[in-house]
């Protein structure tokens, strides 16, 4: 029997191919790496395989943990995603790096910026994250932050739900006195154009800065010129594939960060201070986000009530609307049982119940309007608030009070389309 990694000769249709056998995603074909480097596929049917040897894979050199006492100590907590993924030559698929040290060995610049210790918290694609994972991750990050000699923490994360986790950590880390950078990548680490390298370098500079906030740190533009640190509660993935996908929404970034270590501040923030961080990491799972669209049946809301959900966030139209004609009855019933919050699918700007009669109706029937809070941030906050608090009025108070920069006191003119 032949297996991946074997040197083989395959006879098929009167021709012979020799090379190294790779794992194939298609059960009906052999994938073979020829000596010229090209991979080819050969049908398994009518093929004869002869094993002639076995491939020895060379190990990547690991980063030597030599501490430089002059450099700050930064902790990196890895969770998976593109930034810590690499091509598995055996399957040809992208897989998470299990030893993040492999990643550091590929970005030697980091060694000159900080002593980085790596804690693998989990290894999953970000779409697989659950509130339970936020909770677990907050625990890891909190432990690192509370080490006296640690200047700041970097979390590596898949970009799909990076902004949800950024919000979750923002709420879970009470009394944060050090920087927490959440870093991702949009290009895989196998290629020369790997964007995560610069993101990690800038993220390390952020972790060593005096900005004591949870921030996403990724490319600011399509160029490799600088990264932007966006407030964890005020950012969103705005493009499926571009490097500069994370934009600040209703805010300026905290800062531009350059590979050289230069930091250009763009708005105010909490500053580094002493004191332990208090990890409040209970998240309620029975919450849901409903995106309203013309014609959407209110039965979806009835369903969540019936299922015993403790709260929903509605991503309404414009200033925060759903059809009053078809939804008011269900809304009235729902708000008696659970928290119903309103955000806008316009992303930018705030919701307002007073401008149109629809908004007034919804508001009067118990819908809570959540200002300029992003829908994604609102669902995370609701999950967190319900994790700490049972009293309905207190939940409502907490949801409408700015805790981590999620609700702007005033709408800044440069917060649109930065």
């Amino acid at each position: 029997m032949s297996s991946a990694g074997d040197r083989v000769r395959i006879k098929h249709a009167g021709f012979e191919y020799s090379g190294i056998l790779l794992e194939s995603k298609d059960d009906n074909i052999f994938v073979l790496k020829l000596s010229n480097g090209y991979n080819v596929g050969i049908p398994k049917g009518n093929s004869k395989v002869t094993v002639t040897g076995n491939l020895q894979v060379e190990k990547l050199p690991e980063l030597k943990a030599e501490k430089n006492l002059k450099l700050p100590n930064v902790s990196l907590v890895s969770t998976g995603g593109t930034i810590t993924s690499r091509v598995d030559y055996r399957t040809g698929a992208v897989h998470p790096i299990t030893k993040p040290a492999e990643l550091l060995s590929q970005i030697p610049e980091l060694k000159k910026i900080a002593n980085i210790s790596v804690t693998p918290a989990m290894s999953k694609f970000s779409e697989e994250f659950s509130p339970d994972d936020w909770s677990k991750l907050a625990g890891f990050v909190g432990r690192e932050l509370n080490k006296e000699n640690v200047r700041g923490v970097i979390v590596t994360h898949g970009t799909d739900t990076l902004h949800y986790t950024a919000a979750a950590l923002s709420f879970a880390l009470e009394g944060l006195g050090k920087p927490v950078a959440i870093v991702g990548g949009q290009r895989s680490s196998d290629r020369g154009s790997f964007d995560g390298a610069m993101n990690l370098i800038c993220g390390t500079h952020y972790a060593n800065s005096d900005i004591a906030e949870v921030a996403t740190v990724l490319h600011g533009t399509s160029s490799d010129d600088y990264c932007i640190a966006n407030p964890g509660t005020k950012t969103k993935k705005m493009h499926t594939t571009m490097r500069n996908t994370f934009r600040p929404i209703n805010s300026m970034p905290y800062a531009k960060l350059f590979k050289t270590g230069k930091i250009e501040k763009l708005r105010g923030s909490n500053l580094r201070h002493a004191g332990e961080v208090n990890v409040q990491s209970q998240f309620e799972e029975k919450v849901a986000l409903i995106k309203y669209h013309p014609g959407l049946s209110p039965k979806i809301l009835d369903f969540y009530v019936k299922e015993g959900y403790r709260g929903v966030i509605i991503e309404g139209t414009g200033l925060g609307h759903v059809s009053a004609n078809t939804w008011l009855k269900s809304i009235t019933a729902a708000t008696k049982k659970m928290f119903v919050g309103m955000t806008s699918q316009a992303n930018y700007g705030k919701v307002d119940p007073y401008v149109y009669s629809t908004g007034r109706d919804l508001f009067n029937h118990g819908v809570v309007y959540l200002g300029d809070m992003l829908a994604e941030t609102a669902i995370v906050k609701l999950s967190w608030v319900l994790g700490q608090e049972k009293d309905k009025d207190k939940v409502r108070d907490l949801m409408t009070t700015n805790l981590r920069g999620e609700l702007s006191e005033k709408s800044v003119p440069n917060g649109f389309l930065y």
Partner: protein, 472 residues
């Protein structure tokens, strides 16, 4: 040269006349200023086998910033390395498969697009997408069979438009244009044989009718080794005529290296204007290739390949045109023109003069463009088939062809134009001659005067004949 043990092979890179290989942009170079630029850095990373490729490491060491020029109307996020590739361009793949067939290659049953690490900035991603389509073919030459090792379909690199000490600027218009790379076995033992093989391959590619023409659309690399020296690849061979001289210079250089007991490692050199060469980079190894994970394996439809017809080669076509009565010059130009199929279809008609049809196809359009100072409008095949049908059926005279084409180019309706150029009846012509007859004018001037009035609606010979009859 022979006693040096010269072994030589060539690699031909030919741009295909289709859209880009993995984006839906057009394959066209743009001369206007870019709409914006982006700047990037590239890193040398370990390949799938855990090795950093020597060539990649060499380029990354230079620590240059790469500036890419973007045109919004013909650049997509794929070229900017901001989006995964689109599916492979089927037209380009078909040309690749056809060429494999012409070169007697064995076609790979399932194709796997690979990423070949390139960190000199000429690819935004840091790799070139490349796909092995055929192997182990051959062509016949005057000195016997020459092996074809590989036929590869790949992306062209970005076009270098400038550089400073710390930066290199590239334009993204060329990035991703399909290239067919044909690599021969090191079967050639004399420089002249190399030249012949290059010519044969070039002719075969042009005979498909689907390759780009003009400067920079075909590039040759020559691989040379003499006994005792590793293979050296010479890039940037502009002209086939230079191959013998370049080969001779390189063979002598290798001989000198051996004599001086220097290292004779495999590497890549760039040919300079004086045909000597300079070191470019170490020879890239197989470790710089790994699968393009964003593109699934492509199953080749072998039944469809079987139905593909091997095109008539241009030299055969030239002979056929000569037999039809075209002169040598027109035969060559017509056979090498993309309009040869239009010509062949027209020749199936009864009453058409081959020379007239060839001249119309090859010259009239160009002359009109020059006259009207326009780059607009190539005439569609449909236009020519209707034009030649009207000529064949006597609904149009030879004299009115260029006037019809001019008005069509300006956007008028074909049927309307044709109706206005309907040939004059004999009686109408005779009446015109009678009304304009001037016995004091010599015959030539008289014909000129009448032809002016006729405005292309009658044949010159016929007018001359009728004037003679009228005089009587």
């Amino acid at each position: 040269m022979k006693n040096l043990g010269l072994k030589s092979g060539i690699e031909i890179h030919q741009q295909l006349a289709t859209g880009k290989l993995f984006s839906r942009c057009q394959s066209k170079l743009i001369s206007s200023n870019p709409d914006f630029t982006i700047s990037r850095r590239l890193r040398a990373l370990a390949g799938e086998m855990g090795k950093v490729d020597v060539a990649a490491a060499h380029a990354a060491e230079k620590k240059l910033t790469y500036i890419y020029e973007v045109h919004n109307n013909n650049t997509s996020l794929v070229e900017m390395d901001e989006e995964p590739p689109e599916v492979i361009n089927q037209d380009a793949l078909d040309i690749g498969l056809l060429v494999c067939k012409m070169l007697n290659c064995r076609i790979i049953p399932y194709l796997q697009v690979m990423r070949k690490t390139v960190v000199d900035g000429s690819n935004t991603s840091g790799f070139q997408r490349t796909c092995l389509v055929g192997v182990d073919g051959y062509i016949k030459t005057s000195a016997g069979k020459v092996g074809i090792d590989t036929v590869v379909l790949e992306e062209d690199s970005a076009r270098r438009t400038g550089e400073t000490k710390d930066t290199v600027t590239y334009r993204l218009d060329r990035l991703g244009i399909p290239l067919l790379e044909i690599a021969t076995a090191p079967d050639m033992k004399t420089p002249d044989q190399v030249k012949e093989v290059a010519q044969i391959l070039g002719t075969m590619l042009r005979s498909t009718g689907n390759v780009m023409r003009g400067i920079g659309t075909i590039r040759q690399d020559v691989n040379i080794s003499i006994k005792g020296h590793a293979r050296v690849e010479l890039k940037g061979v502009q002209d086939l005529q230079q191959i013998p001289k370049i080969t001779e210079i390189e063979a002598k250089r290798q001989k000198a290296e051996i004599d001086m007991k220097r290292k004779t490692d495999s590497h890549v050199r760039n040919v300079k204007e004086d045909l000597t060469s300079k070191f470019l980079r170490p020879m890239p190894g197989a470790s710089r290739m790994y699968p393009e994970t964003d593109i699934p394996t492509i199953k080749v439809d072998m039944d469809r390949v079987k139905t593909m017809n091997i095109p008539e080669l241009i030299p055969e076509r030239i002979n056929r045109y000569k037999k039809l009565g075209l002169n040598d010059e027109l035969s060559k130009r017509m056979a090498d023109s993309k309009k040869n199929e239009v010509f062949d279809r027209a020749m199936k008609k009864q009453n058409l003069n081959p020379t007239l049809v060839a001249t119309t196809l090859l010259s009239t359009e160009k002359e009109l463009k020059r006259k009207l100072k326009t780059e607009l409008g190539i005439f569609p095949v449909e236009f020519y088939s209707r034009l030649f049908k009207a000529l064949d059926e006597g609904r149009l005279t030879n004299e009115s062809i260029s006037k019809v084409m001019e008005r069509f180019m300006k956007g008028e309706d074909f049927d309307k134009i044709i109706s206005e150029f309907k040939p004059m009846s004999d009686s109408a012509l005779l009446k015109l001659i009678k009304d304009n007859y001037d016995e004091n004018l010599p015959q030539g001037a008289l014909i000129g005067k009448i032809m002016n009035k006729v405005a292309g609606k009658a044949d010159g010979k016929k007018v001359a004949k009728l004037i003679v009859e009228f005089k009587k």
